[in-house]
Amino acid sequence: MELDLATDNGQPRPETTRDDSPFAIRGLTVSYGDKPALFSVDATFPAAAMSAIIGPNGAGKSTLLKAALGIVKPVSGRVTMLGQPLKRALDRVAYVPQRASVDWDFPARVIDVVLMGLSRELGLLRRVRPHHLDKAMTCLARVGMDGFADRQIGQLSGGQQQRVFLARALAQQAEVYLLDEPFAGVDAATEKAIIGVLKSLRDDGKTVVAVHHDLATVTEYFDHVFLINQTRIAEGPTVETFTAANLQATYRGRLALQQIDRLAG
């Protein structure tokens, strides 16, 4: 059997081979304790496209995003965003975490959460001015939540919370948008609203990468897929890569064959 190992195995390449893709990962290994959650993963996500990170539970999908953003410290590997090391590009990257990762009983209104997306602009001391509020309200309107600005976040439904998180990311006016399961447990109206916003971002030339769990909607939503199960299984345009054989390799018997055929057929 041919081994499909990562190109660099975590060894830093000389800086002369600059990678200009908006979001590239080389030889990324992350472990919790001694067990690697990701092993020597390479990934390259294309610009002005919507990409999905797909894999079974525990395959390291969320970990990939978190390690790419420095939230989880990798054991080895290198991440470049927009052709630069992560640290220098973070202000042009927006992250939408999983909804369940925060305590929604936190004392904040919807508008307060969206204003966090402007934290770089506001800095430590600047007062929140009307034009900041306008910007935040525009972002809320884009996700259809402008009627909820003064609502306490704990009173929102799951789908509404997810849309508030997306509005906060929009407020950053970033180039790259990384979303962790944006469609998990949301209502159909929210799913429609979110996919509309993401498509408009892509059409504006932004890079959108989402951890995605619903195999049934992959071909409809995404241009590019990245299949992962601890290591990279496959990546490429959805039409070429989202195949029965690749899904079989990714899910390893966790999906019934007829299920795979239906999805990738």
């Binding site: 978190k66 953003l69 420095g70 939230i71 640290k87 973070l90 202000d91 990257v93 992250y95 975490p97 990762s101 925060v102 305590d103 936190f106 004392p107 904040a108 209104r109 307060d112 959460v113 966090m116 934290s119 770089r120 506001l122 430590l124 001391l125 306490q152 704990g154 439904s157 906060r168 950053q172 990384l178 209502d187 159909a188 109206a189």
Partner: protein, 393 residues
């Protein structure tokens, strides 16, 4: 305040500033869910306090000089905080276990230190125990000045760091992803709490200072759903408790200051706990009872409309009181009319929930809400077109 005399005014001012600083700083700890770290921190001041006393005495100075004692306690408390952070991050111990371990070991070490000092018989050790529970007796102007300055400086720094601290408290992952150094912001937050703890040692004492960091924010949370207001209100509650407590203890010098301040803060907490309209216990009980009655009423009406008997005592009582059934549980004319309407509403809801076009409205279904508060008359007609004839009557 001046009528109470110079000393009382001095103490009250110091305690008030301390209370504001503790309330404000404590609210960030509370929102970050790390309030108990301050308990380990305050107990970890004791070995430093004892050691500072010994060093200053050995060097021939006054062992009770406040700046020296505070510096010593700050050092050992910071060591305690770092130990808690290290244990919970680098080992399999949870933060709760780390706090317990550090708190007890450092406190034990401090008590040993105090005992040694007593046996040294320097003749000037009297008063070091007052740092356990706090005392305002014999407070000097310079002591009050130290406390006031420390409190003011802490407040200024907390104001400066308020945005990053709130961001980290709400969503640390997002804060990291926007380039914030979460570990450093957390350490800054703990450093502020440390400043409050050390400054408060003299007045409130190390055992109870944690209460002044925790109770005001918890009390404030009852009254607001906005973080900035919780912080502000917490400062006001802490300050109020500080001033009142200091004045009371000034009038009855036998009472230790710390416990009185904490009890007053607790009183303010209790007011919110019971009477806050949003999050108070009383409001929650009333809300639940109201909800329960609506559910029983609705269930009773649906039973009547379908000709089923009603057994539940609460349901019978509610229906009877509303004049919908007679004393022998037979429905009145009015009761039958209301019941028919409830059943019609339920049938309409069923149609609406099966229709994907009404998905947004269907999410509002709770078994209680009348459908005409959700749909426009036109939409209602649309629904009614699908009603089976026997249900529409």
């Amino acid at each position: 305040m001046l009528a109470l005399g110079y000393n009382a005014a001095l103490v009250a001012t110091g305690a008030g500033l301390l209370g504001v600083a503790a309330g404000v700083t404590g609210s960030f700890l509370f929102l970050r869910k790390r309030a108990l770290v301050s308990d380990a921190m305050s107990h970890a001041t004791l070995p430093g306090l004892a050691l500072a006393f010994m060093v200053m005495t050995v060097l021939g100075g006054d062992g009770r000089a406040l700046p020296g004692l505070l510096a010593g306690s700050a050092l050992s408390a910071w060591l305690g905080v770092l130990t808690v952070s290290w244990l919970s991050r680098r080992t399999r111990l949870g933060e709760d276990a780390a706090i317990g371990a550090v708190l007890s070991v450092f406190f034990g070490l401090g008590i040993v230190g105090l005992t040694v000092i007593q046996s040294l018989n320097t003749g000037r050790q009297a008063g070091l125990e007052t740092f356990l529970l706090g005392s305002t007796a014999g407070m000097l102007f310079s002591d009050a000045l130290t406390i006031a300055l420390g409190g003011a400086l802490t407040l200024a720094l907390a104001w400066l760091l308020r945005r990053p601290m709130l961001m980290v408290a709400f969503d640390p992952d997002y804060a990291t992803a926007t380039g914030r150094d979460v570990a450093r912001i957390d350490l800054a937050m703990l450093a502020l709490a440390l400043a409050v703890t050390v400054v408060g040692l003299k007045i409130v004492g190390l055992i109870l200072i944690v209460a002044l960091l925790i109770i005001p924010p918890v009390a404030a949370r009852f009254w607001s759903d906005r973080a900035d207001r919780v912080v502000l209100l917490s400062g006001i509650i802490g300050g109020g408790a500080g001033v009142t407590g200091a004045l009371l203890s000034g009038m009855a010098p036998d009472l230790p200051t710390g416990p009185i301040i904490v009890l007053i803060a607790f009183g303010l907490f209790a007011v919110g706990f019971f009477f806050s309209p949003g999050r108070g216990v009383l409001a929650a009980v009333l809300r639940h009872r109201r909800f329960q009655r609506r559910v029983h009423m609705r269930q009773g009406l649906l039973a009547i409309a379908q000709g089923q008997p009603v057994y539940e005592r609460l349901t019978l009582r509610l229906l009877r009181r509303a004049g919908l059934i007679r004393a022998d549980a037979v429905a009145t004319d009015a009761g039958r009319a209301v019941a028919a309407k409830a059943l019609l509403d339920e049938h309409r809801w069923q149609i609406l929930r099966a229709d994907p076009r009404f998905e947004t409205a269907a999410a509002l279904y709770d078994g209680l809400r009348p459908l005409d508060t959700v749909l426009t008359p036109d939409q209602l007609t649309e629904i009614d077109r699908n009603l089976r004839p026997e249900a529409a009557t």
